[in-house]
């Protein structure tokens, strides 16, 4: 199976509380924070590799292409999925101000039409904008079925049985490729992905794989094809325009340390009137 994995570079999500807003509110900056691969996209890369390999022998069953849309230096971030095992990468150069989910979906559509993958596998959301929209929009633009928030993908007679994490539990669908699947955290649990080739006895580690030294060396030689938004027919500009950014108000008051359970219950009853 040929799999395309769109990925995004984000400011270190574990330090998101250090994001800054310019005094006039026109810009949000991540100065001082490291760039990371969006965690959900990293899981999508892992899921793509699991789908396209015999986990027991390491034999590869198909190509995995990673794609990003962003600044020139996103190439540095793209080396990570290449080191994990993706075969090649494509970067569509763009300024953040030029893009929104619809532009991203249009750019990805053009790349899908050129590359003709069987599956697009991507994170359910990027943890900077937190929009959770690009995968769904891409599926619609392509006229493909989709399975969002996937916690499991099991290959089944040429189709994929996907367990979706929804508010009320797990919704299972069976989808026939080509399709778009967006992944949730649990896709990288030991049994999240079954491709029908990797023996059932093979147990994956929890989480995304680390790049081996050999993988890191190999990644340096892998191709990154750089394109422009115009090349992919997505230079019309964003329709979602941000006009102002602000920091949330701090929670009022300091934390009060209570000595014991009795004091806690007393405070909740008489002071906070919460019980």
């Amino acid at each position: 199976m040929k799999i395309l994995v769109p990925v995004k570079r984000v400011a270190d999500p574990d330090n998101a509380n250090k994001m800054k807003v310019s005094p006039d509110g026109s810009r949000v900056t991540s100065d001082g924070l490291e760039w990371k691969l969006n965690p959900f996209d990293e899981y999508a890369v892992e899921a793509a590799l699991r789908l396209n390999e015999n986990g027991a022998t390491g034999e590869r069953l198909g190509e995995v292409i990673v794609v990003s849309i962003g600044a020139e230096d996103v190439q540095t971030t793209l080396r990570q999925p290449l080191a994990m095992g993706a075969d090649r990468a494509i970067l569509v150069k763009a300024d953040d101000a030029e893009i929104d989910s619809l532009v991203v979906a249009k750019a990805l559509k053009a790349l899908v039409e050129a590359e003709k993958p069987d599956l697009v596998l991507m994170g359910k959301q990027a943890v900077d904008g937190d929009s959770n929209t690009a995968g769904q929009m891409l599926a619609e633009l392509l006229g493909w079925p989709m399975a969002t928030f996937a916690m499991s993908i099991h290959g089944e007679d040429g189709a994929l049985r996907v367990g979706r994490e929804v508010d009320t539990g797990v919704l299972t669908v069976k989808v026939t490729p080509p399709a778009v699947v967006t992944v949730d955290l649990r896709i990288v649990s030991p049994n999240g992905v079954k491709n029908g080739v990797t023996p059932d006895s093979h147990v994956y580690n929890e989480g995304a794989r680390y790049a081996s030294l050999k993988g890191i060396m190999a990644a340096k030689k892998k191709a990154i094809d750089v394109k422009s938004l115009a090349d992919v027919g997505a230079a019309d500009g964003a329709v979602v325009k941000y006009t102002k950014f602000e920091l949330p108000p701090a929670r009022s008051g300091q934390v009060k340390y209570v000595a014991d359970v009795a004091e806690l219950v007393n405070k909740l009853k008489t002071e906070a009137k919460a019980i």
């Binding site: 509380n17 937190d130 994490e165 329709v239 934390v255 340390y257 359970v261 909740l268």
Partner: protein, 325 residues
């Protein structure tokens, strides 16, 4: 003047109450722009759900009866066709249903999406949306410059609309289809049924973290406290990932967002991703061994204690106080 189409959410053939948050939003836009709003009940049981929506001030309640389990591929064409040329805004509540479905509708309409919004402002007929970004650490205000604007609203920020009386007329809309639906099949929806209040609607939420150490401890240590408080049970991502509880209890940036009157975090250190899902709570209590845990940044009350001793004691104390009345 902006007319709004609200897409209702159905479950088991009935209306999900979270729909009323999107109705609240629609009223704000309609009032602010001098427009009106309609509600579309779509799915299996739409006709019955429509009758539950008649008393909320909608100009019309639209009905699209579609048999079988929910699939975005089956719903999106009908919603897009109903919306095109008629509505300025299409809205739903930002549940997993709204988040799955509405972007697909938007792409069909060549529309931009403002997702999971916390507020809307109307100035001179122009709509701006405030949305949480970076796990709720930044709010961005955005405008959507497409013919139709597609919006999902955060349930905790838009209080359920109350009935206005009156009765909106219902109207059946025609069903459109898309070949994409031929390549996807609904197999099942497995839900864990609980007698407890729904997490996103509960007045009190008690959440457990990895420090509970096992599924068994969630059951024997945390659940008695949950029930003593008449609360809903939640969990941190770490506890869900460890398999202690199902993932639909996850509170956080990518799980559920809650804002109850009282939130009790038991053995939860307070990673940024967790805080994003609960820091809007009115009163926050932390029970943790580590007084420096990041949960202290948002907690009102902090009991530094071993949860295995403190939680049973707290449960007993709550029960005692409640018995006294």
């Amino acid at each position: 003047m902006t007319d709004v189409l609200v897409v209702a959410e159905l479950l088991d053939g009935g209306l999900r109450k979270n729909t009323l948050s999107a109705v609240r939003f629609a009223r704000q836009v309609a009032e602010g722009t001098g427009g009106a709003f309609d509600v579309l009940a779509i799915g299996e049981g739409a006709a019955a759900a429509a009758s539950a929506l008649e008393g909320y001030g909608a100009r019309k309640v639209l009905v699209a009866e579609i048999e079988g389990g929910y699939l975005a591929e089956k719903y999106a064409p009908t919603i897009a066709d109903a919306a095109r040329g008629t509505y300025g805004v299409v809205a739903a509540t930002a549940s997993t249903y709204g988040k799955d479905l509405l972007p697909r509708v938007a792409a069909r309409l060549d529309a931009g999406v403002a997702s999971d919004i916390a507020a809307v402002s109307v100035e001179g007929g122009t709509l701006s949306y405030k949305r949480p970004m970076y796990a709720g650490n930044v709010f961005g205000w955005c405008a959507v410059r497409s013919d139709v604007q597609v919006v999902t609203v955060r349930q905790t920020e838009f209080e359920a609309a109350e009935p206005t009386g009156g009765s909106s007329p219902t109207e059946t809309v025609s069903i459109s289809s898309d070949p994409a639906a031929d390549r996807i099949e609904f197999i099942s929806l497995e839900s864990v049924k609980s007698e407890r209040p729904e997490l996103t609607e509960a007045q009190i939420v008690v959440s457990g973290g990895r420090a509970l150490k096992s599924a068994e401890n969630f059951h024997t240590v945390l659940e008695p406290l949950v029930d003593a408080l008449g609360a809903a049970m939640g969990a941190s991502r770490a506890a869900c990932d460890a398999g202690y509880v199902p993932n639909d209890l996850q509170v956080g940036q990518t799980g559920k967002v809650v804002a109850p009157k009282l939130y009790v975090a038991v053995g939860i250190s307070g990673a940024i991703q967790h805080l994003a899902g609960m820091k809007g709570s009115k009163v926050i209590v932390a029970i943790n061994k580590d007084k420096e845990a990041p949960i202290a940044q948002v907690a009102d009350y902090f009991l530094v204690a071993d949860l295995f001793a403190a939680v049973p004691e707290l449960t007993a104390e709550i029960n005692r106080v409640k018995a006294l009345g």
